[in-house]
Every structure is written in C-alpha cells, then in structure tokens.
C-alpha cells in the first residue's frame, strides 16, 4: 500500500462538496483547503451540487492557500446525474447555461443538456441516460466510487468509457457523516430514523486520505491515475476582481455625463461659480478615470422617471449626483467630501444606493428589466445561513423535541451565557448536550438563498457568461452570490431600495396640492432655513418624521436643543447603539461650542482636554469626537500615518463582520503609527476603542446629510400641513409607532380624527385642513379591491342609503357587515341602528343571490324585518377595537376610569414639574425597545401615553427582570418611578409597574 506523500502523487480528489451544496455538504471551503493543503494536494476542485454558490469564496481561498482551483458542479435532476469539471472558458459558459436552464425548467434533463453543451467540460457519471447521450462525443468517465462500484464497472463495459476513482466527499471525516444525515433530515423535514436512503449519501462519502483511496481502488490503478489526468486538463479559472460596469447606450458617455452634469448644475445653482465648476470638473475627471460614467447615467435615467428619490450612502457627497438629481443635498454648502465616495487609491467599487417610494420599487425593477433585458440584469441574492438559535431549533426538531422544551432550553442557554458565574456548567438532559454540540458545528452553514432587498447588477455581456441565473418566486433572476461575493467578483452593484417616508412625502404633497392648491416640488423643496421647522426639530416633536421619530432620537434632539441642519446630520449619525459612549460628550461639547441656531460661537474655545493636536484638528467639525465613518479614515491618517487608501480599507474592515484576524494586523499597525506620531500606548488604545464603535452599523456624513434632508422635508410638512402629513404617515404604514399612537399624537397636535364613513372616507387616511378621516384600509377584513370599488363607484355620486350602496357596489355579505359594524353607515342611515341595518343587509343578499328571483317570492318581506335595539356603548367600543384595531371615540385609559379614580396620579403633560420626585402615572404602552447592557443584561425603554401626552420611561435590568412578563403592546399600566432630567430630556425610571 502506498503511503504519505508518495500516495498523494497517485491519487487526487476530484469530487469535493462544500457547505454550498446546500444542506448536503458539511465542510466550509476554508476547512477543505486546509485539509487538502496539509495532505499535499496542490489542486482544489470544488463540485457543489446544482450550483456555484461558493465559487467566489473558493477562488479567494485558493489564492490565500496557494492552491489551484478547479471549477466544477454536480448536476442532479429528475433521476439523472453527472459530475462536470470545467476545462475551458467555453466549458464554464456551458456549465452556467445548463444551471440556468435547470433552475428554470423543472423537467430539465442533464443528459439532454450535456448532449449539446458538453464542450469544454469533463463529464463523470454512472447514469446510463447521460452516457447514452455523451459517450461518443464528450470526454466522459465512469464514476468509480464506494457507493456504486458495480455500476461503474458496468458502465465501462457497456459504454466503453474509462473509470475514474472518486470519493464524493460531502464531509471531511467519516465522523461528520452524522452531521450530513442531520442536515438532510432538516432539509427534508424528516427525522433520522425515517430518512429516504436516496436523500442521503453513504457513510464512505468523505474526504478519505490518498492512502485510503488507493487501498479502496488498488485493483483499478488506471482509475486512480485518471484523477491526475483530469485535474491537469482542467486549467480554466474565472477571473475575479475585474470591475464589470453597466453597459453604455451612448457613444461618448463621458461627454453626455458632462453635459447633463452642467445642465443640472445650472438648474440647481442658477449660476456657476469657479468653485462649483472646479469641483464638478474634479469629480468628472475622477469618475472618468474610475470608469463610473455609465453608472451615473444608468441611475440618472432611472431616477428621472420616478417622482421621489433619495440617494444614500457616500454617493451623496458628489456634486455630479446632486446635479443629476440623484441626491438632493448640496455637497459644497454642507461640506461633503467627494473622496469618501471615489478616490484614486480606492480599489473596490463603491455602492450607489438609491431610495424610492416603497410602493414604486416594483415599477423601478420592471423598468430596469424592460430596459436591459433579462440576460443582462439580475438581482443579488442572500445566503441565508443557520444561526446559533435556528441551528439548535432545527436540530431539536430532528430529535423530536417539542417547541416548548426547545424554547425553554434556548432560554436557559441564553440565561447561562449572560450569567456572571459561568463556571457552573449548565445541566442539560439528553439529548441536549449532543444537540448543542452539533449546533455549534452547523452555525454558519448556508441553508437556502433569498433575494437581496435591492441589489441589482447590470452587465454589458449576458450574465450567464459570468454565473448561472436562478429565477426566484418574486419573478426576477438572481446571481448565485451575496453582496460581498458580487463585489468580490467585480460586479458593480446598484442598490434600489424602498423607503416609506418618500411615499409619505409624496402623498402629503399631493394632499397639499389638492387641499390648498399649493404646488411644491420635492426636489427643490429646501426647508433648511425655515425657522418653524427648526423649532419643531429642536423640541423633538418629530413623531412621524423620517429617521428622527424614535423615542431615543426625540430625546436626543431635546437634549441637544438645536434644530439646524448640521446638527440634525450629526444626530442622524450619532444615534446608533455603539455610539452611546460618545453621545453625551458630543452633546456637551456641541452645546458649549454652538448657539441655539447651531452656529459656532466665535468666543468659545474647547473646554475639554485634547487627545492629540492632530486628532483635534482633524475632528474639529465634530468637536474632537468621531461621529461619521470617514472620521475613522481621517483619524488613522492624522495620528497613525495611514495613507488614504489604507485608512479607507480600515474603515471598511471595521464595519464588516468576521474581521478579527485582519483587524488584529491593522491594530498593530495603528498603534505603532500612533507611537511614532508621539502618542503613548494608552491614548492609542483609547482612539482605537473609539474607532471600534463604528463596528456593524454606522453612517458616513454624506449619507447622514442625505437622510437629514428627507427628515427636514418631513418636519416641514408636519409643521405646516399636520393633518395631511399625519394622514400620509399612517396610510403608508410601517412607521416606528402604531396607527393608534400616530392618531393620538395627531389629536394632541389639535387635529380632529373622524371615524370611517361610507361617503367621506377614502381607501387610505385622508387629511383635510385640520381633520383626519380614517380610511377604509383601517377596517379589518375589507379586501383592497372592494375598498377601491367603493371609492370608484362613489365618483358617480354619493350613496343615498344602504340599499343604494349594495345595489351599486355589490360587496360580499361579510364585508358589508363589517362596514356596518364599523359605523360606516351611521351618518347615512341615522334612523336605523347597526343591528337593524344588518337585518336589511341580510334581506338584500337573500333577495339578490337567489337564482330564480322572478319565480318565487322573497323569503321575508322588507316590512317584516324587525327594528332592533342598538348595541350598548361597551359593545360599540369593542367593535372599534376589533374592526379598527384601536379606540377612536375615546382614550383607552377611559375604560379604566373607575380604577384610576382611586389612584393619585399625575398627568404626563406635567411630568417636567416633578423632576427628582417619585410619581405615579397611568399609561397606555405605545412602543418599546429592549436592549442589553454591557453586562449582557436586558433592559427596556418604554414609551407610554396618557390622555395628556406621551412620556418616556426606562426599565433597568432589575426592574426589567421583574416586570418584563407583564409587558404587552397596547395595554394600560400604572407606572411608579422617579422622574429624571438628563440634559433637558425628561423620563421616568420605573420602580413598579402594575398591569391594569
């Protein structure tokens, strides 16, 4: 028997599966590379099942481990299978084409496909159907593997094809076969004892050592040698990293971009100053050098066709974007640096993200697909992976455990993780120790793919030249890689995302046009200098306003006490969880340095001790604190001597996950740089920790500015047209608060809220000069088509009575009853109460649904219908709650008036007068957010409202542990606690909570 390295020269694995054989393979690509490298194999062929989901990672890992990649795929469909390895570029195209066909056609046959598309591929199979079609024309081998030895020899004899030795390695070790079986059970929604044998690989399907493989097939030396021949022949490696831009539809696209930019600048600025021209020329030159001209033109083309858009991300720093209408923030006025978007040292393609109104996004996609054709455009996919909890839950299901037990153990594990005393092992009953151990191994395994919310790639040549396309249920194709994979491959990704607030502004502007005959243009609406809008922002009265409506942001605004645009830009960026540490310090410094209009006080100098002069100078705008992403880059350049490109890479690494290894290298370099620049180790560490707060979720300044502009526009509309604005906020749904909370807020603004009415309501909420009419959309159980029909039919004249409505609209009985019960006919039929109207509706349907109404008399004459007693008041309230989801007639706390009469409580509106005192308040819970402290303990920020105002509360860990089980959204509580004032933001620290 051959041994060691000698054996490695006589057999090489050619059939290896990774985790990207979705729910079949168990090994990560990097793990496979390590094993192959350790065993002396120089080539890493990867043949995942029915897909190339791991291709980019495979190529990157091979580069890192100095292995030669061989691309392959196992095609399995309709009882036929073939393992294909790519020899040439044509072979790769053929493989992508076949996979695309396989995804699109459920009856797709590998045999028929390989008959026409075998060029450039090596085919390995034992399937007679495939061999029949390919044995004479293609380079075919019979698959000699432990699962089907007889089959391989039979194929050799029948079709005269050579054998090749194979392992069908789905796992690295034989011990991992159990993990493979578990994955199959999860995937097939089965249990281990009932797995279909055809749905599982045999136990021998692991990455056996060369010695073992040689021992297995020592009688077939040719089959072993064939592995070398095949890998030698497979030389094609797809290129990754070369940028692939969208196609151009203009001969001289750079000139077109220049012309359009200058036309846009004239429109935006009125006249062009040397500063504007210099900036535009500089940007255009950089865009040309980087090859991004087409991207701008593609986006300009799309943006121009839709009413409201908002460019987000670093692209908002570009004056070209501003001129083309992609963004709406003046980068010169607001001091936004174009280099954050594009700079000579930047190697990776920057994202260009555009927000559209949420209900227009499908139309955007439709336009793009129509414009570029299905072969040149596709969406980006997500690789949905098993997370620790989901892995454990799925495993527990395979082991037959019930949901209650799973929930309990998950809870115990989380509790144990959070416990301070971790030395005491968690005592878990069988089979939980095994489940936990397996779950650790399953963490991160890709389970399935889904569609990324907005990522699109557009290519000049068909995308199938680069990768297969997979159709998804939403009707669009996706590429097989996630956003990182797409970027690493070289596609320039464009993000077209949905944004509800843009739809709110659009609807509000339409209402303003209709009610006041005031025509405002979204793009030119610039309320930055409107003092009343600033005042609204300053007071934190921003419920409903884009991005600044959450309780945390409103409180932050109250603390800052400034409502200017620059402050709002900073607030938009700083309101992120990881920035909590610097928030308080920034507020103090900002209030010291700026007046109430946000202007710098010329007489003030910093009253804090600077970390380093260079550091302070760099971050002068943000008072020596890092609040934007680019501050990381600038700080690294100023205090550690990083180049712009290095600083940008550091910024990017910090914001990504799975960065620890690379980050450690950068930390060393950063600290060394700091020391070289005269900082001591402690200060370097402090700055590094400040940088780390940008991990995960953080903004660059252009992005914050772009969002702040939308916030400002929202706030402007809220102040000047509150009814129209609040109606649009509720109609578009999806805000931070419930419809009820918004309506309560509207009442506090002095608006009148009126219930739905058959002749008055529209489909959505409608605001009209101080009044909000609830729309039919709020009534549960009314189909959208019926809502629209009611309004459309009413165009011919208002409904006269119930019969007229039924005659003209002909709704389903159930929907009609719901309209009656919701009180839609109370105004139209004042003489008849709701139960009487239900009788009338029943009678109308009985008379009009009979097939032979002319032959037989009606079952009951209309005169016989009874006049019923009306519902009691409590029933009517219950109906409001049931059909609308909340009470309209009165505040919900009114239901508890008898209990509350016995309690000495204060009003929320008076809370500011009780700072430092213990108080009792009654409140209706409208929203809440649970977070974890540094000690990994849960606590919650809850927002309540009473009849007078909303009030914010904090439930610290000890109280949270006691009262969390009582918390239910939309319920009444008695809150006892101490009123605290933190820089002007008043809240109650809860000490006791009683559920009413």
């Amino acid at each position: 028997m051959a041994t060691g390295a000698a054996a490695g020269t006589r057999f090489q694995h050619i059939h290896i599966h990774s985790q990207y054989s979705l729910m079949w393979g168990t090994a990560p690509i990097e793990g496979l590379a390590k094993v192959l490298r350790a065993r002396g194999q120089k080539v890493f062929p990867l043949s995942d099942r029915n897909g190339l989901y791991g291709l980019v990672e495979h190529l990157q890992v091979c580069r890192d481990y100095d292995l030669r990649p061989v691309v392959g795929c196992e095609l399995v469909a309709n009882g036929e299978w073939a393992h294909c390895l790519v020899k040439t570029r044509e072979g790769y195209h053929n493989l992508c084409t076949m996979l695309t066909q396989a995804y699109r056609d459920p009856r797709w046959s590998p045999a028929r496909a390989l008959r026409d598309l075998h060029e450039g591929l090596i085919v390995i199979t034992n399937c007679d159907a495939v061999l029949e079609e390919t044995h004479a024309t293609a380079e075919v081998y019979a698959d000699l593997w432990p699962g089907d030895l007889k089959g391989a020899r039979r194929c050799r004899e029948r079709w005269g094809v050579p054998l090749v030795a194979n392992a069908h390695a789905y796992t690295v070790t034989p011990e991992a076969h159990h993990l493979h079986r578990v994955l199959r059970a999860i995937d097939t929604n089965s249990k281990l004892s009932r797995l279909d044998p055809d749905a599982v690989m045999p136990a021998a399907s692991y990455l056996a050592s060369a010695d073992e493989m040689i021992a297995r097939f020592e009688t077939e030396p040719k089959a072993l040698r064939a592995t070398h021949e095949i890998l030698e022949a497979c030389t094609y490696v797809p290129t990754i990293g070369a940028l692939i831009f969208p196609p151009s539809r203009f001969d001289d696209h750079q000139k077109v971009l220049r012309d359009k930019t200058y036309a846009g600048l004239m429109r935006r600025y009125g006249q062009l100053t040397p500063q504007i021209c210099e900036r535009a020329d500089r940007e255009l030159d950089m865009i040309r050098r980087k090859g991004f001209s087409n991207c701008f033109l593609v986006i300009e083309d799309v943006v121009g066709r839709f009413s409201l858009t908002c460019g987000r991300g670093s692209a908002a720093a570009s004056i070209v974007s501003y001129a083309l209408g992609i963004t709406h923030v003046d980068p010169i006025k607001h001091n936004l640096f174009f280099e954050r978007f594009l700079n000579p040292g930047r190697v990776d393609p920057p994202d260009i993200d555009i927000d559209f109104a949420w209900d227009e996004r499908d139309r955007v996609r439709d336009y793009l697909w129509q414009r570029y054709g299905g072969e040149h455009i596709a969406m980006v996919c997500n690789h949905n992976r098993l997370q620790p909890r989901s892995a454990m839950r799925e495993l527990a299901k395979v082991y037959g455990l019930d949901a209650r037990e799973i929930e309990k153990v998950s809870h115990d594990l989380v509790k144990h993780k959070r416990a301070r005393d971790k030395k005491r092992a968690l005592d878990l009953a069988d089979p939980w120790p095994e489940i936990v151990q397996l779950a650790r191994r399953l963490e991160g395994v890709p389970r399935h793919i889904s569609v990324h919310c907005g990522g699109v790639v557009i290519t000049p040549d068909p995308i199938t030249h680069h990768c297969p396309l997979r159709p998804m249920p939403i009707g669009y194709d996706v590429v097989p890689w996630d956003k990182d994979g797409v970027e690493d491959y070289g596609f320039v990704k464009l993000d077209f995302l949905g944004n509800r607030s843009l739809a709110v502004i659009r609807d509000c502007l339409a209402s303003v046009r209709e009610n006041y005959r005031v025509d405002m243009d979204y793009a030119s609406l610039n309320p930055v200098d409107d003092p009343r809008t600033s005042e609204l922002i300053r007071s934190g009265n921003t419920m409903g306003c884009f991005y600044v409506e959450s309780p945390a942001t409103r409180q932050l605004l109250q603390k800052v006490r400034m409502g200017d645009f620059e402050t709002l830009v900073a607030v938009s960026s700083i309101i992120r969880p990881a920035a909590n540490k610097v928030t308080g310090e920034w507020i103090k410094r900002h209030r010291w340095m700026c007046d109430e209009q946000g202007r710098r006080r010329p007489d003030r100098k910093p009253n804090w001790r600077p970390i380093h002069p260079d550091f302070e100078a760099t971050l002068d705008e943000s008072h020596g604190l890092m609040i934007y992403q680019e501050d990381v880059t600038r700080t690294a350049m100023a205090v550690a001597g990083f180049s712009a490109a290095e600083g940008d890479v550091l910024r990017k690494i910090i914001s990504k996950k799975h960065k620890q290894k690379v980050l450690a290298d950068y930390r060393e370099k950063f600290v060394a740089g700091c020391i070289k620049h005269g900082l001591d180790q402690a200060r370097a560490d402090t700055i590094w920790q400040m940088m780390m707060s940008f991990a995960g979720y953080s903004f660059c300044k252009p992005h914050s500015a772009s969002y702040a502009m939308v916030s400002f526009k929202s706030a402007f509309l809220k102040f000047h047209y509150p009814a129209e604005f609040m109606a649009a906020v509720i109609s578009n749904q999806g805000g931070f608060y419930s419809a009820y909370a918004y309506l309560s807020h509207a009442r506090r603004l002095g608006l009148t809220v009126v219930p739905p009415e058959i002749n008055g309501s529209r489909v959505a909420y409608h605001g009209y000069r101080g009044t909000i009419r609830i729309g039919f959309m709020q009534i549960k159980g009314i189909p959208q088509a019926l809502r629209e029909r009611i309004v459309a039919v009413r165009q011919d004249g208002p409904y006269v009575d119930l019969n007229d409505f039924l005659q003209r609209v002909r709704p389903p009985l159930e929907a009609c009853k719901r309209l009656i019960l919701a009180g839609c006919f109370d105004v139209l039929e004042p003489e008849r109460n709701r139960p009487t109207l239900i009788w009338r509706a029943l009678h109308w349907f009985a008379c009009h649904q009979r097939q032979h109404e002319d032959l037989w008399d009606a079952p009951v004459r209309a005169e016989e219908l009874p006049e019923m007693e009306d519902y009691p008041a409590a029933t009517k309230l219950a109906l409001e709650r049931r059909l609308l989801g909340f009470l309209v007639s009165l505040h919900p706390l009114h239901l508890y008036k008898e209990v509350l009469a016995k309690v000495a409580r204060i009003r929320a509106a008076d809370i500011a007068g009780y700072v430092g005192r213990k108080v009792c308040l009654a409140g209706w819970l409208i929203t809440g957010k649970t977070v974890t402290t540094k000690e990994d303990e849960a606590m919650s920020f809850l927002t309540f409202e009473d009849e007078s105002d909303v009030f914010e509360t904090v439930l610290f860990p000890r109280a949270y542990a006691q009262y969390a089980p009582l918390l239910d959204r939309a319920h009444a509580y008695l809150v006892q606690g101490t009123v605290c004032d933190e820089m002007g933001a008043v809240s109650v620290t809860i000490e006791a909570l009683v559920r009413l």
Binding site: S193, K397, Y399, G400, D402, R404, E405, D430, I838, Y871
Partner: protein, 385 residues
C-alpha cells in the same frame, strides 16, 4: 320524561386536586405541554380570576404567575369518569355520559322510589360526595337541554339542584344569555347573534320563528325552538362493547421509528395472545398515539377477523407513516380491539403451515418460561419487554 343532568364542576381540576391536595392552595389550569397550548380546563378559583377554557397558556402564565398548571392525564380522567358513571347508574338504568363529569339520567318512572325529585337529586349528590369526594349539581327538567342549562345555572348560584317544571321553560330561559344555548358553540351562530344584538334569550324569543330561519337557516329554527326550551332528544346510553386494550408509555419519549414499530409489535403479540386465550378474534383495532406535546393521533383500522399477529401487524404498519406523521417524539401508545367471541373467521380448505401454527406454541413457551423467554425479531427494539 324527567331528566337529571349531573354536572361535576371543573371535573378535570377536581380529579387533579384529589390526586395532589397541594393543588387546593392555588388556582389550577389543565393544559397540554406544546408551545401554543390553550387551557383545557380551569378550576373555579381560576375562573374567578378570569381564566377560561381556550385561553392561551402562555398568556395565562404571563398574566397570572401564581396559577398551577397540570398536563392532562387522559387515562386517569377516563377511569374517574367510569367510576362516576358506575355510581350514577345506581339511580337510573338509562344514563348517557355527555363528557367528563357530565351525565344525563332519564328518571322517568323512578319518582315513587325517592318520594320526590329533589330527594333523589340530593341523594345522588350526597353519594357522589361521600363515595368519590366529587361535588356535583343537578338540573331537573323535562328534557336534556333545559336540565343541562339548569345544572349550569345552579352551579353559578352555588346551589345543589334546580328544577324547572313543565311549561316554565320559556320563563326560566328568558333572562339568560344566549351563550347558554348549545348553538352558541357554533361560531357562525355566535357571530350572527352578536351582529343582530340577540345576546340574550328573551330577544330571540321575541322574534318570529321564520325570521330566525331566514337569518340562520335550519340552525336558526333549532335555536328558536331551544330558546323556548323545546328539545325532543331522548337520553341514549352508549353501546357497550367488550374490548381488549394494551397501552404503553415510552421511557423516555422517542421518535425512533424502529423503537415505535417494535413496541407496537410487542403490543400486538400480547393482544393476540389474549385473544387466543379467550378463543376470540377481532376484525378492527383502535390505535391511539400521543406525541410529547399532547397532540393525539387516533386511527380506526378494519380487517378480516383474525387472532394472529401477522394480520394485525400488516394492517397497522401499512399506513404507519400516515398516523405517526410528525417528527416529534411519541410518549404513549395504546391499541384496543373488540373481541368477537364467536369466531367468524372462515376456515381455510387447505390450512397453511406457518405462523398460524407457531403462535400457540409461542404462547405456551411464554406461559411456562415467562414473557421474555421468546420473541420475534421485529420486536427486539421494543420497550415493552
């Protein structure tokens, strides 16, 4: 006809409290274990807190942390119910069980034995309390419907009995809520009664009968009849049968098919041995399987009369994947077969040598050397032993 309705309030919780007296100290609910479980039964003190049957268990536990929860134990409840059934049969030969803790007794012609109906009801009440420690209320009326409602109403008043005389039914029912009528259980009727504001029986009585028929069809007509206390249904005792039963509780619960199947085969072997010992056969089997989250699967399988394992096994395993259709672990398995004393199996013209001849010998071996002395290969992984 005079009907007694015997109603043992919160029967399941009473049984649980008799088993574990510590439960008297706290409100008690019975609910299965699975994730989205709802309350199966609540004790009277739990009902006073506002807990009712059908409420989500998670909500109950969150809102009333002091409430004790017990998982339903069907075999125990069945046995207790049978005990009560045997006791009430001393008072009337015609007894119809209507659910756990509920019985209708046709007392026609029994008046002379007890002097008057109140005496009879009080005696019945006393016997239940003395013999089984179960308090009951008795509704006395001239049909099942009114006696049921009377028993329920008198329970609220904490009285032992309530008698409704003939002709007084409409007056007795008029002030009651419509939910007292059995049609309230129908979701459609419940919804209609709410929409038409017919929330008490008097309002239904006021409507002409044909209007109720117009609004709710046949169900509406019945509802109208019931609103006046009209119910012609007789008290019908259940059809009794002689059944053999084997049951097994897995220790621990398992979802391994080989173990479940082998255990089932062991139960079949035992059942068939009992059939052979009684010179009986069976042509049907009732299989009940309880998963770990208290979800049940029940199957009724018919086949040619047999007393041999092979026939029964084949019939049970044919659709195994269909009745054991979840990944969840199985906790309990029961198999029952009615025994046919006269052997209806057709004798074969040419008897086949094989399993049929082996089984009696296996029975002999087991009888002599113990149950574990010999078993078939398929039963090896079984847990019954």
């Amino acid at each position: 006809m005079t009907v007694f309705h015997v109603d043992i309030e919160s029967f399941l919780t009473q049984i649980e409290r008799l088993r574990d007296p510590a439960l008297w100290a706290r409100p008690l609910v019975i609910a299965p274990e699975h994730g989205r479980a709802t309350v199966t039964a609540a004790s009277p003190d739990a009902k006073q807190l506002g807990i009712s049957k059908g409420m989500s268990l998670s909500y109950v536990q969150r809102t009333f942390p002091g409430v004790a929860v017990r998982v339903p134990d069907e075999p125990v409840y069945r046995r207790a119910h049978q005990q009560v059934s045997r006791l009430v049969q001393h008072f009337s030969p015609v007894v119809e069980p209507l659910g756990y803790g509920h019985f209708a007794l046709d007392m026609s012609g029994m008046r002379a034995m007890y002097g008057n109906w109140d005496n009879a009801a009080l005696k019945l009440n006393r016997r239940l309390k003395e013999a089984l420690r179960l308090p009951a209320t008795v509704g006395i009326a001239h049909n099942k419907l009114v006696s049921t409602i009377a028993a329920k109403e008198v329970q609220k008043a904490k009285e032992p009995l309530c008698a409704v005389a003939l002709g007084e039914e409409p007056g007795f029912l008029a002030p009651l809520s419509s939910r007292a009528l059995p049609e309230w259980e129908d979701k459609g009727v419940r919804k209609l009664l709410f929409e038409l504001n017919l929330q008490n029986i008097e309002r239904i009585q006021r409507l002409p009968r044909h209007l109720m028929g117009f609004a709710a069809g046949e169900l509406g007509l019945r509802l109208h009849r019931h609103a006046f206390g009209v119910d012609p249904r007789p008290v019908t005792p259940p059809h009794d049968r002689n059944a053999l039963c084997e049951e097994y509780c897995f220790q621990p619960d398992t979802n391994d098919d080989s173990v479940i199947k082998a255990t089932l085969l062991q139960m079949v072997t035992r059942l068939c041995a009992r059939l052979r010992a009684a010179s009986a056969a069976t042509s049907e089997a009732r299989l009940a399987l309880r998963f770990t989250d208290d979800v049940w699967r029940r199957r009724h399988i018919r086949f040619h009369p047999t007393r041999q394992e092979q026939g029964l096994q084949k019939a049970l395993l044919r659709h195994y994947a269909r009745w054991c259709d979840r990944r969840l672990r199985v906790r309990y398995l029961s198999l029952s077969c009615p025994a046919i004393r006269e052997n209806h199996a057709q004798l074969p013209l040419f008897p086949e040598a094989g399993a049929e001849q082996v089984s009696p010998h296996l029975d002999q071996i087991r009888k002599r050397f113990g149950r574990h002395a010999i078993q078939r290969g398929g039963e090896l992984f079984g847990q019954v032993g």
